[in-house]
Each structure stands twice: as C-alpha cells, then as structure tokens.
C-alpha cells in the first residue's frame, strides 16, 4: 500500500452483539480520490463509515485516517468532514444555517471569530451564503443537504465522508449535489468517501468503487466493478443493464457538472 493514503482500511472485522457485521475489508483512499462504497441493503456500508469515524470498535484489523488510528477519540474529527445519513433537520430546531455550520468546527476551539469566518466561507462555497440567517428547519431538502455539506467543509478541508448524501433528493438535485462535491474536490483537493444505495449515481461519480456485502467482494475502477461477476454475487442479481444506464446517467451528470462549474466561476 502506498505511504500517503488518506484512509487505510486493513482486514477490518466488526461484530455487534456477537453477530458478524463486516469482515475482511481492505482498501485505501488516495489523496484527492473519490471512493464510492456500494452494496445491497444491510451490507454494512454505514457501519464501515462509522468504523472509519471511530464510532464503532473493531473486532480485528485496523483503520488509519490521515495517519492516525481512527479509534483514538482525541484524533476524532480532526481533518474529517462528515455528512451523516439524514432525511431532514428537526423542523423546529432553534438555529439558523450559520449556527449549524459553525457547530462543525466547535471541537477545534480556534475562537468564535475564526469559526464564524470559516462557516461563512463554507456556506459561500456551497452556494447558500444568502440563506445563512434562515432557520435550518425551514430550508428545502436540497438546501439542508448543502448546509450539512458546508458544515463538513467548515470542519475539514481534507477528507469528506458522505453517508447516503442524496437520499430523498430527486434526480436533478442529486446530480447537482454530486457536481457540487466534484467542484469542491477540484478546488480544495479533498478526498471523498461516499456510501450510497444508488449504484448508478456512485458508479457515475466515483474514481474507485468498493463493493461490500458484509465482506468485501470487489474494489476497483467503476467500469471494472460494474462488469464483474463479484458485483452480481454481492447483490445476488444480474446487472447487465447497467452499462447502458450508467452511460445515460453520466450524460446527465456531466450536464449538471457544467452548470455547477458555471455557477462556481460566476
């Protein structure tokens, strides 16, 4: 494995209440790479992300994030921006978008002024600076997703971890979201790990796919993974139609990226 990997996952095994949840998971994330984690429902995708974040104990193996073991609580959150799986903010939560984004940097204790400036910059980067003073519970689903992304950016500019970031969004909003992530990646040199049940969306966006179903079935470039027998084995179904679907998805995604690039440069 290369020495400069942002995330290194080696032989990870996770058990919950004596039940095996994950085993034999090994992969790494290179600087600036977009890694998609795919697998059927109940495959352990979210557990894998939580293990990378140091939120679940490992029964075996090790995970290093930015050169430090993920299990160290003191290093938790350092350099990582996390967008958890979420359907909506609590509608009556008494805070505005700026407050919520600022919370992402609270653990860094670098002063309220710096915290506010970082939060304002993050909101501007995701294109919702004008919504900074709006109550978060009153924002639309797409706007709330941008707030969580801004919060993650405010926390870190090295590694983004996204858990089902587009769940509940329609296709144009989903493609806009991924185009935004791609633009931020280019601007900030971020590494990204994203989990999604939406195989099509991730296959169209990621540089590298990791397919798991409790154990790791295959990892590699999307076109290699999509056509592999191991993918069918992991999902227990046929995926021959995917090649055509992905080409269709990519056409729409590149259109969204063009729009996002124009928005970013304006």
């Amino acid at each position: 494995m290369s020495g400069e990997a942002v995330v290194r996952v080696e032989g990870v095994r996770v058990e919950r209440d004596g039940r095996l949840v994950l085993e034999g998971i090994t992969f790494e994330v290179a600087p600036g790479a977009f890694v998609g984690v795919i697998g059927p429902n109940g495959a352990g995708k979210t557990t894998l992300l939580r293990a990378i974040l140091g939120l679940v104990p490992l029964a075996a193996g090790r995970i290093e994030v930015l050169g430090r073991p993920s299990a160290e609580r003191a290093s938790r959150g350092n350099g990582i921006g996390y967008v958890p799986q979420r359907h909506a903010f609590p509608p009556d939560f008494p805070a505005n978008a700026l407050d919520v984004v600022r919370l992402g940097r609270l653990h860094q204790r670098d002063g309220r002024r710096r915290e506010r400036l970082a939060a304002e910059e993050a909101l501007a980067r995701v294109g919702i600076a004008a919504l900074a003073r709006r109550p978060v519970g009153r924002l639309s689903g797409g706007e709330q997703r941008r707030v969580t992304l801004a919060q993650a950016l405010c926390a870190s500019s090295k590694l983004l971890i996204l858990d089902e970031p587009t769940v509940g969004l329609d296709l144009p909003a989903e493609q806009e979201f991924y185009a935004l992530v791609r633009r931020l990646q280019d601007e900030l040199g971020l590494s990204v790990i994203a989990v999604s049940h939406d195989l099509l969306a991730l296959a169209g966006e990621a540089d590298h796919l990791v397919c798991i179903n409790r154990r790791m079935h295959i990892h590699g470039q999307p076109e290699h993974v999509i056509h592999s027998h191991a993918l069918r084995e992991a999902y227990s179904c046929e995926f021959d139609f995917l090649a055509g679907e992905i080409a269709h998805h990519e056409r729409h995604a590149s259109e969204a990226k063009r729009n996002e690039a124009e928005r970013g440069s304006s």
């Binding site: 996390y82 958890p84 008494p94 805070a95 407050d99 919370l103 109550p135 926390a155």
Partner: protein, 262 residues
Amino acid sequence: MFEHAFMQRALAAALGIGVVCGALGFFVVLRRLAFVGVGISHAAIGGVALGLLLGVPPLLAGGVFGVGVALGISTLGRRSRLGQDTVIGVFFSGAMALGLALASAGRGGQQDLFAYLFGNVLAIGPAELAWLLVLALVVAGGLVATFRAQLFLAFDEELASAYGHPVGALDALLLVLLALTVVIGVRLVGVLLVEALLVVPAATAALWATHYRARLALSVGLGAAACAAGLALAWQLDLAVGATVALVAVAGFFASLALRRS
C-alpha cells in the same frame, strides 16, 4: 408584602429557581427530556425520605439520590436495549416507592415529607437561601461551559460524537444538572410540581422564539416571572405557593398558544 424578611428571601429564592429552571428547561424541551425530569424529581422523594429518616439534610440526600438516579438513567439508558423511557420508569417507581415506604414506617416524618412534596418557600432561612443560590450558580456555570456542545448534541448526537465531543459525558452532565435543578426547585414548588418549571416556561418560549438565543432568554425570563408572580399572587389570595407558581406558568403557556394561533 415584600417588607417582611421571609418574603424577601422567598422572592430571591423564587427568582433564582425561576432563572435556573428556565435555562435548563430550554434543553429539557429541546431534547424531549420531560419524562427524565419527572423521573428524577420523583426519585428525589426517596432521597428526601431517607434523609429525614437518617437525620441528614433532606435536600442534600434528595440531591445525592437525584444525581445517582440521573447517572443511572444516563448509563443504563445508553447501554441497555430497554430504551431510556423504560429505564426511567424502573428508577422512578423504585425510588418513589422507597420514599413512601420509609415515610409510612412512621419514622420518616410524614409532615416534613409533605413539605418537600409540595414546597414551602416561605420557610426558607438565610443559610438555605445561600446554599440554593450557590447551587443555582453551579448549574448555570455548568450550562454556560458546555452550552454549544449541548446544542450540538441536541442537533445530532452521532455527528457530535464523530467530531470528538464526549457525548456520553455531556449527556450525563446535563442529567446531573437537571437533578441539581430539581433539588433547587423542590423548595419552591415541591417534587410533584417542579416539572412545571422545567417544562412550561421553555415550552412557552418555544412558541414565540425560533432562534436559540432568544428562546433561552425568553425561557429564563418567563421562568423568573412565573415564580415571582406566583409568589405574589399566592400571598394576595392566600393560596399554596407551589401550585400558584405552576398555574401562572401554565396560564402563560395557554395564553401564548391562543395568541400564536390567532
């Protein structure tokens, strides 16, 4: 009425209690901890009865009991599969049953226990007032020191944990502060009605304010106002202070509800 020294002490205690209950009530309502408040306050009865039986200051014993129950609820509620509400039900009924059993044994001083069940702020002495205000400052200090981390916890516990915030310790601290607030509030409204001060001012504030700073300030103001107005009204109408304070707070809530809907 406030020319009497005992009324001045009662007013000082009422204002201190109203401020602290209003501040902590902000999180009780935000994190939907109302049942935790009921559990801790009723559990404190066991401690008060034990204190009366053993000759230990009842509020000290009630406080130790309340803090113990708060830590038990926090720890077991997180580790067991039962769910926090079930754990509260077990602690709440067990501790309250202990209190009533000790009182019924005849050595717990039933009349004294009633004073803690329903409150007796007019009998507060200078030393006790000083202790209450010190305790109120401790609770306020704990809240100020951890306020935004607690806000983050209320927003998303897993996210707060992912960013390295000690969510278990923060949760336990909030429940301990809640237990101390119950001990403070018992002197004014009693164990049975302290929940009114923990929930109603903050719930009323939530009807009016959408931002946490305004909501917190309003909750604190309404808590203090309900306590002071309830005390004055009880004096004028010769009513029980605790019940009058709770009724004033509840009346404010329903008036706000009506105004917000109109």
